[in-house]
């Protein structure tokens, strides 16, 4: 199981070497992995359908309660099958689509890593593990959208997608941590059983909103949907895989996953129904306003995501069955349609449907399978999409909240989608042949394999409903609903309200389609308006504000003046320390000086004098020398109070510091007075303040003992456990060796920093 999840990462590492080895056949070879994963997960289906969820356990961070457990139930298995199944065709397809691309290896590294991350996401049983994989999908998605990294638009879109999803991801992290704290466990299967306790908790609303923020951004819900169409800057295999079939469904997955625990809450139902419904309609409508094939498909994906969210929100058994069917159906036809869009783009050189026509004769297979997939998208019998859509309408009719609104939105979305499906299936393939930038011909088998198989499955499962029924849909419904539900799917339900609504949608859809090319100009105006005032404009405003804020903050905090940095650091540190001291301990000004000896007094006086000279002298060398005196006096203090190790260290460090300072001193310009009297007084005040706080702190420390000192442990165990009599050293190299290891790495970093500051300066570059 662990291997099944991580094998994608392993193959990703090997991809750069495999690509030159297999040349043009590399896609077929890579596809062997997801194909075998598909078979592996498919072999689990009967077991899960019969015996319910299973947990496979691996320990990861036992101390933090983070496990690498995998939960295998209907929902995760359905997703795993989609990821591996569609992944197989995407990898084959990409081999054809990106044939000869110089960065093909990088593409496979990224997409395989993505696949593994997605697999981990849907199979994780632990919230933290789930989140780790969740973020991994965001990062791989970012890199894949920006795959054509020389194109500034692609980079911008990639960054936009990353910002939106990662901002949501942060909210999600907060939500998951609160959820884990409230539930007392990060284990999903335990959380799902403690739904009522969760809903009674005071933090429940906060948890819910945070998690929804994460899911809504990931699954492109209104008003944060705009990143998804922009993500179409990615190569088509990526769009088909990440931004249609898998990643964008991660949010939907998490919502479905948590539904048994959250579903009872009214806020949950309201939010999901409202945002899902609005997204469904917005997506469908926006799809209508575009002529770019990929954009149309992207918006119709938003429609599907909205529908899925809404169905989870409705929460009745029918809605859950509709959810499972819609999820499955959508992945099949949308994967196929995206690949068709990629074929058309690849073969004709344009993405605009209005610029294509009459390709049926040249690309007969593409035309047929595009039509089948589009029929499923439109929701016409006898395809699987029809079953899903009928169930969706039926579910909407029994929605507990906002029923009328949802019904209107659903019918409206249905009409738009019908038109979009018709445009995709008819415009490029029928009518007179239009000239295109490239000479079109039928796609190679590697690119046709995906659309053919997926579209055929849409048809096959529509006709043979009993295959998915008990094997796939029933376990999914059980997982999402929280308890088993009997599922029986059929194409013909008799003449009922959903069927009549479908008929209405069909008629309206045909009507709008006939006028499609005529209403385009009006729609273009509307689109411009939305571009100026829509949510995306808000995103740009926020980003602009962020840049401005950062500029302002940098000019204040990091203005390049050393003195300024020091003041900020010193003031922050000592004000906080001083405040804590006052708050917790109060002042203590009295110090028992009895028993002090003459030589101790001498050292103390020496210290004070050296400090005074260092800060008052006008000679640099004098300042360095008196700093040295200060340091050696401190070393003397250590030795007087029997800490020889510290004493020796201090002496050595002091020696080297003085040497370093002297070396640096030669590099500085002459000693001139650059600061005003005001600045000098200010600096003196800050310095005195810091000194005062430290003095008070030291006075207070004498009598504070918050925790039991661990010295006793060290003294006791140094010889027995550490085999050493020098406790300081035993602590350094044995008891707290990990700290020391960290410290020597810090040393190394500091050395590299200093080295590069000295060595790599502009003038040094000119010389070489």
């Amino acid at each position: 199981m662990l291997l099944a999840v991580l094998s994608g990462f392993l193959l990703a590492i090997a991809a750069p070497w495999l690509c030159p080895l297999f040349k043009d056949r590399v896609g077929w070879f890579m596809a062997l992995l997801p194909a075998s994963l598909f078979l592996y997960f498919a072999s689990m289906l009967p077991e899960v359908a019969a015996h319910g969820p299973q947990v496979v356990e691996y320990s990861w961070f036992p101390a933090l309660g983070i496990t690498l457990n995998f939960l295998i139930d209907g929902l995760s298995l359905m997703f795993a099958l989609l990821i591996s199944g569609i992944g197989t065709f995407i990898l084959i397809y990409a081999g054809g689509y990106l044939k000869g691309h110089p960065d093909l290896a990088r593409f496979y590294v990224l997409i395989l890593s993505f696949m593994a991350s997605m697999m981990g996401l849907v199979l994780s049983e632990n919230l933290i593990t789930l989140f780790v994989f969740w973020e991994l999908t965001s990062i791989t998605s970012y890199l894949l959208i920006g795959f054509n990294h020389e194109d500034p638009a692609a980079r911008r879109s990639a960054l936009q997608g990353l910002f939106v999803t990662v901002a949501g991801g942060l909210a999600l992290l907060a939500g998951l941590i609160m959820l884990g704290t409230v539930a007392g466990t990060y284990s999903l299967s335990e959380i799902l059983n403690s739904g009522e306790a969760l809903q009674d908790h005071g933090l429940f609303t906060a948890i819910l909103l945070c998690i929804l923020a994460g899911c809504f951004t990931k699954s492109a819900q209104v008003p944060l949907h705009f990143w998804l169409p922009n993500a179409m800057a990615a190569p088509t295999p990526v769009s088909a895989y990440l931004h249609s079939a898998t990643m964008v469904k991660a949010g939907v997955y998490l919502l479905a996953r948590l539904n048994p625990a959250f579903g009872e809450a009214e806020l949950w139902t309201l939010m999901l129904c409202l945002f899902g419904g609005l997204t469904m309609f917005t997506g469908a409508f926006m799809a209508l306003t575009h002529t770019g094939l990929k954009k149309m498909l992207a918006y119709s994906t938003i429609m599907a995501l909205g529908t899925l969210v809404m169905l989870i929100g409705i929460g009745t058994p029918t809605a859950m069955i509709a959810f499972a069917c819609f999820l499955f159906g959508h992945s099949l036809y949308k994967g196929a349609l995206f690949m068709v869009a990629g074929i058309l783009d690849h073969e004709t050189g344009t993405k605009d449907v209005a610029a294509m026509g009459g390709l049926r004769g040249l690309m007969p297979y593409t035309a047929i399978f595009a039509a089948i997939a589009a029929l499923s998208l439109a929701g016409l019998p006898p395809l699987f999409g029809f079953v899903a859509k009928e169930l969706m309408l039926e579910a909407v009719l029994e929605a507990p909240l906002l029923q009328n609104l949802l019904l209107v939105l659903a019918v409206g979305a249905g009409v738009c989608v019908m038109v979009v499906a018709a445009v995709i299936a008819i415009k490029p393939f029928y009518g007179p042949l239009k000239p295109t930038p490239k000479d079109p011909h039928e796609a190679p088998p590697s690119m046709l394999a995906g659309p053919v198989v997926l579209a055929t499955l849409s048809l096959l499962f529509g006709l043979l409903l009993f295959i998915p029924e008990s094997l796939l849909i029933e376990p999914v419904v059980a997982a999402v609903y929280g308890e088993p539900v009997a599922v029986s799917l059929s194409l013909w339900h008799g003449i009922n309200l959903p069927l009549m609504l479908s008929g209405l949608v069909l008629l309206l859809g045909i009507g709008v389609f006939l006028f499609w090319s005529r209403i385009q100009p009006q729609i273009a105006i509307l689109r411009e308006f939305l571009g100026r005032f829509g949510p995306e404009a808000g995103y740009f405003k926020i980003m602009e504000g962020l840049t401005k804020g950062a500029t302002w903050q940098t000019s204040v905090l990091q203005n390049g003046k050393m003195g300024n940095y020091m003041i900020v650091l010193v003031l922050t540190t000592f004000m906080l320390t001083g405040y804590t001291l006052m708050e917790r301990q109060g002042l203590r000004l009295w110090l028992d000086l009895g028993g002090s000896q003459v030589h101790e007094w001498m050292v103390a006086v020496l210290l004070v004098m050296a400090g005074g000279v260092a800060s008052l002298t006008s000679s640099r060398l004098g300042a360095v020398a008196s700093m040295g005196v200060l340091g050696f006096s401190v070393a003397l203090v250590f030795i007087l109070f029997s800490a020889p190790d510290l004493g020796i260290t201090q002496v050595l460090v002091e020696t080297l510091t003085v040497i370093l300072l002297v070396l640096v001193l030669f590099r500085l310009p002459g000693f001139v007075r650059l600061s005003s009297t005001y600045e000098r007084v200010r600096d003196a005040v800050v310095a005195l303040f810091a000194g005062a706080v430290v003095t008070l702190l030291v006075l207070a420390v004498i009598e504070i003992q918050y925790f039991e000192s661990i010295s006793a442990f060290h003294i006791e165990n140094s010889v027995t456990l550490g085999y050493g009599r020098n406790i300081v050293n035993v602590i350094l190299v044995d008891f707290r060796a990990l700290d020391t290891l960290g410290e020597i790495f810090v040393l190394a970093l500091a050395a590299i920093g200093v080295y590069s500051m000295i060595k790599f300066r502009p003038e040094a570059k000119e010389k070489s």
Binding site: D645, L660, L663, V730, I744, A748, A750, V754
Partner: protein, 149 residues
């Protein structure tokens, strides 16, 4: 920067090796008596710095069998490696391991992963210090006038 004092140069010839020897002594006895990798590293660095002051940076560079940056890297690697034996034995990373190797007569040689770790610290400290000092000294020779920028 290079001093032309005969006294310092003559002294450095004798003191530098002694200091280095002493640093190894500090390193090895560190587990039981005052000393240890950190102190020994500083001691060794100051030995080289003394030599550098007497004979200049080029002469000191010629003295190194390993350049400071490699010493630093070696130190980090040793530090990491010393944690591995414990992992192979199924214990937490960096858990100390001890081996007593009998020598001639009654003497035994106490070898341990903390010792390897300490040597790593020793090398890392020397590497860091020398890297910085050498860089500073060399930039010194680059700009004899000492004008800043």
């Amino acid at each position: 920067m290079k001093s032309n004092t005969l006294i310092l140069q003559t002294a450095a010839i004798y003191i530098t090796p002694l200091q280095l020897l002493f640093s190894v002594f500090l390193l090895l006895r560190g587990h039981d008596e005052p000393g240890g990798g950190f102190i020994a590293g500083l001691m060794a660095s100051s030995a080289f710095v003394l030599y550098m002051f007497s004979y200049g940076v080029t002469a000191t560079r010629n003295l190194f069998k390993i350049v400071p940056v490699d010493m630093l890297a070696l130190g980090l690697i040793l530090g990491m490696i010393s944690g591995l034996p414990a992992m192979f034995l199924g214990q937490p990373f960096l858990q100390a391991q001890w081996w007593d190797i009998p020598l001639l007569g009654d003497a035994t040689l106490k070898l341990s992963t903390p010792l390897i770790f300490d040597i790593g610290v020793y090398l890392a400290v020397i590497g860091t210090t020398l890297m910085i000092v050498v860089a500073l000294m060399e930039s010194e020779t680059d700009h004899p006038s000492g004008n800043g920028d």
